[in-house]
Point group: C2
Amino acid sequence: MESIQKSKKEIIKEKASYLFRKKGYAATSMQDIALAMDMKAASLYNHISSKQEILQELLMGIAGEFTSGMEDILSSTLDTQAKLEALVNLHVQLTLHNSDSIALITGEWVHLSEPELTQYKKQRSVYEQRFLSILSACQKEGLIAKKVNIDLALYSILSSLHWLYSWHHKHPNISKIELEHQLKMVLLNGLIS
Amino acid sequence: MESIQKSKKEIIKEKASYLFRKKGYAATSMQDIALAMDMKAASLYNHISSKQEILQELLMGIAGEFTSGMEDILSSTLDTQAKLEALVNLHVQLTLHNSDSIALITGEWVHLSEPELTQYKKQRSVYEQRFLSILSACQKEGLIAKKVNIDLALYSILSSLHWLYSWHHKHPNISKIELEHQLKMVLLNGLIS
DNA sequence: GTCTATAGGCTGATAGAC
DNA sequence: GTCTATCAGCCTATAGAC
């Protein structure tokens, strides 16, 4: 039977992700993390091997969740439009469950050191290509007008979905189902009819 | 007659905005900036008074351009939908002319020190309220469906517009007029009809 | 597993020669 | 206006007592 207690390493990663989100990786010191843990900075090293390791585990964890979510959607028998909607749901799901660490994907990944930086960028690029392939299929089926630049549409959708955590931070009372519904209207159906 | 030459301070700000965008404010040292200028770090202080001053001037400059652009649009006699479209054009305009320093508005503003931090946040909040008031007017006129959450729509549009610089960085050959046209389709008219 | 002490390096910024 | 030299402080990380 696994313990339901969080390990101290997990708590450190939680506190660190909060600080990385608020001040950025470079501006967050081990002192800051130690203060949040009620410890001395040196004691942190009994649980983690470096500040960089914390960042790596946080980002690689999130990246893995996106990758596996994408694989489930691609291998499903959903029709093309339903796949697109399932992607929106995936981002909502991961945002509501990881709102501090998910914030790191907008900017803090640049502080990864090699070889994780290259690995992270490759994983993100594959994710974006797969997202684009779904948009492309929508366009072939006539769901998206031919004149629309789907490269730009992809970036626009991902920008909104990446920043969702910050909106949700200010509007925490909206339900998951309503958030998904509203995002599909705004991102997919458009504002002005 | 003013000189058409850029002052050394202006060149420092350009190089710094490039580095701040790429590595972040905290991870960029005066050494890094000096290297880009072919100078020793100490020599920078003949032109600027601190690293913080560079960040402040970059961010306050951009914020001022957004504020004055918004004021021109609000005081115009354009109809409501045209005002919304003019806002998209404003972001495109400022992005194409300031792509390094404009990148700082997505995250680096957190490194402003007081009192500029408070001033910046207030200015941004006023900008967002004015943007929202235009969306609200669109909704009252029936251009936007009543069921749409315009708080979420505002955040979604601004997310895309804020990250436009990074898309344009990878697709520099698109014309200004086509970029504006595509963004209005994607952000306002929607993908799926 | 936590602490104190500390190493070794980099930071932003200043002083003063030229 | 640029340089060398330098300061005082903070950084990540380690060593070793308890």
